[in-house]
Symmetry: C2
Subunit: 445 residues, 2 copies
């Protein structure tokens, strides 16, 4: 069963292989819908994830299925299409062949690598175990379990071991970019509401949320006034923002920031990313973050048949600017590659270099605040939140998801309830603290 | 941290401890909402599950959060309430104390055991690994992963190893009760739609679904004409119904029924249940299925302070009939126990024995057929399906879930799409067959 076989590909038609069904990879497929070619789309998961909303799954505001859709469903409009649930293990540039974990191999005439990024712990990979990041649905449900379980255990472990309860009720988010800011705000709202309404022995006052940023302000890619607005909004939600904080160590129950030890049962990593190993597969030049250095037409130097897009690529575009690693950039690159391929298949020469169009950047802080930078204007507070919600709903894949997420948001907004607050995959062997004698935080019955 | 401490319970108030937040346990809480007593509700999970719809999570029609709600949210209306995420390890009847896995203990004046049932493999516990049953959200997402992964692997493993592909595309459901019938019908619809629309190398003709029942008809608790209707409906969906089939062995890749070996990558158990170990905790008399034998007032003989309800109890009611192990019975028993407790706390003597009111039983077969037995009348086909849908929506806990599930069903009904078709918790180390040369089932591109 493990013989290395090649995937069937009809002869005579150009073979296009796309690795990765994120924003970039799907944009390529969308741009090639009616092209007469054999397209193979390979992904490690069977679903596309709307990554900008993963933090809402991690904080129980949305369910996994609200922000993920099966890849096959998304691309079913195209007939000459082969979807493979598999993982790339290597690429032979000379033989133009992609090797897969299952043992299969796929030949290509044109190859698009859109394999995204994972978290980077800056050489401290052992931190990953204690401070998970959120890049996949499984990451998000794992973090959700950690947060909800900490609240449950704090409720049971009241008073006897106050140090331990404080540890359970301290949530640390490392990294003050959009993901960290959104995560800290969402944890603040989840814990504040849950502890004020549904727990008996813990109250919002017992909960501490710390957001640690190494730089001197949050959201460094935004203008300074929006960074300040984000900080104020987070503080109003009860988040302690620590700027210039240097993380020196992380273990199962604490973070050491500078010299200070912060005991915390929940630690979330949002501090850095590292490209997928595409550079290693090609044995090509990568930048410090592991991104493949590509030309301004998004091809690998001396390999015009290999395109690299999204978080996997380091590109300086036609404006002589580095393209940021965000969803809109990946989508634009995907559309550009599709256009370039159509042009080539029609026998035309190359198209103009890629030019990134910046339509603005957004970050949200909790239930009714956000910051938006359009370049020509800036918004904060509730109007920014309305724009953020509309934009995210609009870009969600598929009508059903838009509809369900919209209904969920409205419901959460009106009721503060968290419909997805399930602890799943519970390891019953996990150590669970015990209950005890008396509690200063117990409210009047 | 592991010192055995007792949970704080205010003095002077009756201490009521409820173990299990299923239909029975929650019905007790609901009936005691305004009673002046200290209630402790203990469950292994943080959420209540609407078990009758678990098979829809396993077949990707609904998301986990659609049919589960956090216990704290459900009972938040009550103030003198303590919810514990913990597991019972033993009970001391003399000291009236419940011991928990966390090391804590809880004293009671009145104890209600509503701990439900698990699957029974009739002494073949090693079958559990290969033929999981569906009792929890985690069970359901595990089965969902198995089914969806089998389809993905069959698509990649086309042609080279036909025996293996047949094995991947054979789905066996063991047990012809309502769960087995519903599961087989739902798998038929999921696979038929997915393979006809979104896979390229497998078609509905490649898929085989076998429902194995040991008796001589399906749904043995229903009238014979409804059993026949269910069998016909399933066969129209492409399910092969095997009656009088005796399962002799199960391993990772096959089931042996009688003398015949059926190769199958997906095997689902719906054949029998066994009560939770409540009888062992109390060292009291149990029937063959492990259910505690209780009196017609639902108390344990010579222990009027211990009630047992739902799937954990073996009861002969005031009509001299055995009470069935279904959700409506558990709810009625919960309401009865609440009434009995109110009566006792008011100093009155015992109430009349429990009497089960049978409002009818239902089972659904796929997207538009069901069977309903009201006793005074019977329905089948589409009208029965409408009644089934309405009843299940009505009984779902909480408005939000009703709304979301209703929208989802309507969407699935209109589009055949499965929004929750996500493979999560994917173990990348799993053996995944490889692709190969040619495929008789490949459709014209």
């Amino acid at each position: 069963m493990k013989r290395a076989l090649s995937i069937v590909q009809p002869r005579g038609k150009p073979k296009i292989v796309i690795v990765g069904a994120g924003f970039g990879g799907l944009a390529v497929v969308r741009g090639l819908l009616d092209v007469d070619a054999e397209i193979t789309l390979i992904d490690k998961q069977n679903h596309h994830v709307f990554q900008p909303l993963l933090y809402q799954v991690a904080t129980a505001a949305l369910s996994p299925a609200d922000i993920a859709a099966p890849i096959r469903t998304i691309v079913k409009a195209r007939k000459q299409m082969h979807v493979l649930l598999d993982e790339v293990t290597g690429i032979n540039r000379e033989a133009r062949t992609v090797f897969l974990a299952s043992g299969a191999s796929v030949a290509y005439d044109l190859l698009i690598l859109a394999t995204g990024a994972r978290h980077s712990y800056f050489g401290n990979d052992h931190w990953a175990e204690h401070a998970p990041g959120i890049k996949t649905i499984d990451d998000a449900t794992r973090v959700r379990r950690t947060i909800l379980l900490a609240l449950e255990q704090a409720e049971t472990n009241r008073q006897e071991n106050v140090e331990s309860r404080d540890e359970l009720l301290t949530f640390v988010v490392i990294g003050g970019g959009p993901t960290g800011v959104e995560m800290a705000g969402a944890i603040a709202e989840l814990t504040r509401h849950a502890t004020s309404m549904e727990f008996r022995y813990i109250t919002p006052k017992c909960v501490r949320i710390k957001l640690i940023e190494g730089g001197d302000r949050l959201l460094t890619t935004f203008p300074e006034d929006l960074s300040a607005a984000a900080k104020t909004s987070l503080e109003m939600l009860g988040v302690e923002v620590i700027l210039g904080g240097r993380v020196n160590a992380i273990d199962a129950v604490s973070v050491i920031v500078g010299e200070e030890r912060i005991p915390a049962a929940t630690i979330i990593w949002a501090a850095g990313v590292q490209a997928s190993p595409a550079a290693a597969w090609l044995d090509a030049e990568a930048d410090r973050a592991g991104r493949l250095v590509v030309k301004s037409d998004l091809t690998v130097p001396s390999h015009p048949e290999i395109f690299v897009i999204g978080d996997t690529a380091a590109v300086v575009d036609a404006n002589n600017k580095s393209v940021p690693g965000i969803a809109p950039a990946a989508k634009q690159q995907g559309a550009y590659v599709a256009k370039a391929i159509r042009s080539r298949l029609n026998g035309k020469s190359g198209i103009a270099p890629f030019r990134y169009r910046d339509f603005g950047t957004l970050a949200t802080i909790g239930r009714k605040r956000a910051v938006v930078d359009f370049g020509w204007t800036r918004l904060k507070g509730f109007p920014a939140w309305v724009i953020w919600s509309t934009a995210h709903l609009y870009f969600l894949v598929g009508f059903r998801n838009r509809f369900v997420v919209g209904a969920n948001w409205l419901w959460n907004y009106l009721t503060f309830e968290r419909g997805a607050r399930l602890i799943t995959g519970l390891d019953r062997g996990a150590d669970m603290p015990t209950a005890a004698e008396d509690c200063v935080t117990e409210r009047a019955a």
